[in-house]
Amino acid sequence: MQQFNMEAFLKKVTKDKRTLEMFRYLVNKSYIRVVNYHNTNPVDAERFEAEINYYKEHFVPVTLKDIDNFFETKVWPYDKPGLIPAIFEGFRNHYDIILPILDKYEYTAWFYIPSFFMDVPVDEQIPFSNAHELTVTNKEMYPDKRVAMNWDEIRDIAKRHEICCHTGSHFMITKETSDEDMYREIVEAKQVLDRQIGREVEVFCWLYGEEYYYNTRAHKYLKEAGYKYVVSNLKLERIR
């Protein structure tokens, strides 16, 4: 058993301002639980159902309206804490496997869609997913090789769940990203989603833990596009 050294401990946890920021959110009760999902394959359906059933019992689902109200009133209005199932990448297996479970338990999820993926021709979807780190773990599930949801499926989901933009082509935006690429992946990606689901998408989600303050060049495009919230793997930031 090692001797605890408070000085060393404090030096470690104060090295990075993001650590102290997270500490502040937790102490200030300004946080939300998220469970991140990517592939939702049939083999895991029983586990997903056990999870959603558990969330239904111990948490409340969260809508964007709940987040709006929380920021306005600074009060979480429910006895139970909120939990968001975050479903990433727009895979077809989301529609077929986890969506019926979410709907059975009437539990709202947030679907993060790379909006150009849906318009990739079916024959090219697996090569596209390989090239854009959209890891499909059961490529044989669909003999017709369509692994992305189509727009009808996304429109159906949008009726009772939150739709968020996860860039256009699952693109990692960095400080070095060109203006042209930023415009396409932030602004045009939202325009495609807005048009297809018939309402404004308010949430943009970075890839790989980017955060709003880190990439100030992207501010212009996030504002031009009209997003209200920006999500990273550490926080959800309201920007307008």
């Binding site: 470690k12 650590t19 997270m22 990517h38 429910y78």
Partner: protein
């Protein structure tokens, strides 16, 4: 563990094995196929106010346990190399490990681990 004092006591006693065991468990999860829990901060950049928020009633002061737990995990992930961390800051895996260990309080205020949710599906 149910209070921040319990977390501090575990630190003082030098007993970090339970945290390291959770880190080991987290490293074996298949992120592409499994639900991976975490907690994210909510920040209103349009407001200059730094007021505290009022959380869910059933949560009580469990947020303090989570805050202390996140710091313990951060100190442990700090010891890993950038390559081992996948170039994420230590707080990122720390928040996920913290949520795994302190998923929510039970009726008596004790921490429930996320693996309890999926206990019937964990492959040894």
């Amino acid at each position: 563990m149910k209070t921040i004092q319990d977390v501090l006591d575990s630190l003082n006693s030098g007993n970090l094995e339970q945290y390291k065991e959770v880190m080991e468990y987290c490293s074996k999860r298949v992120t592409s196929n499994e639900g991976i829990p975490t907690v994210i901060g909510l920040d209103d950049l349009t407001s200059s106010s730094n007021e505290a928020y009022q959380g869910a009633k059933e949560e009580g002061d469990f947020n303090l346990v989570m805050a202390a737990g996140a710091m313990v995990f951060t100190s442990l992930y700090e010891e890993l190399s950038p390559e081992q961390l996948g170039h994420y800051p230590p707080i990122a895996p720390a928040m996920s490990a913290m949520t795994e260990m302190f998923f929510h309080p039970d009726a008596d205020g004790n921490a429930v681990q996320y693996r309890e949710v999926v206990r019937d599906f964990i492959k040894e």
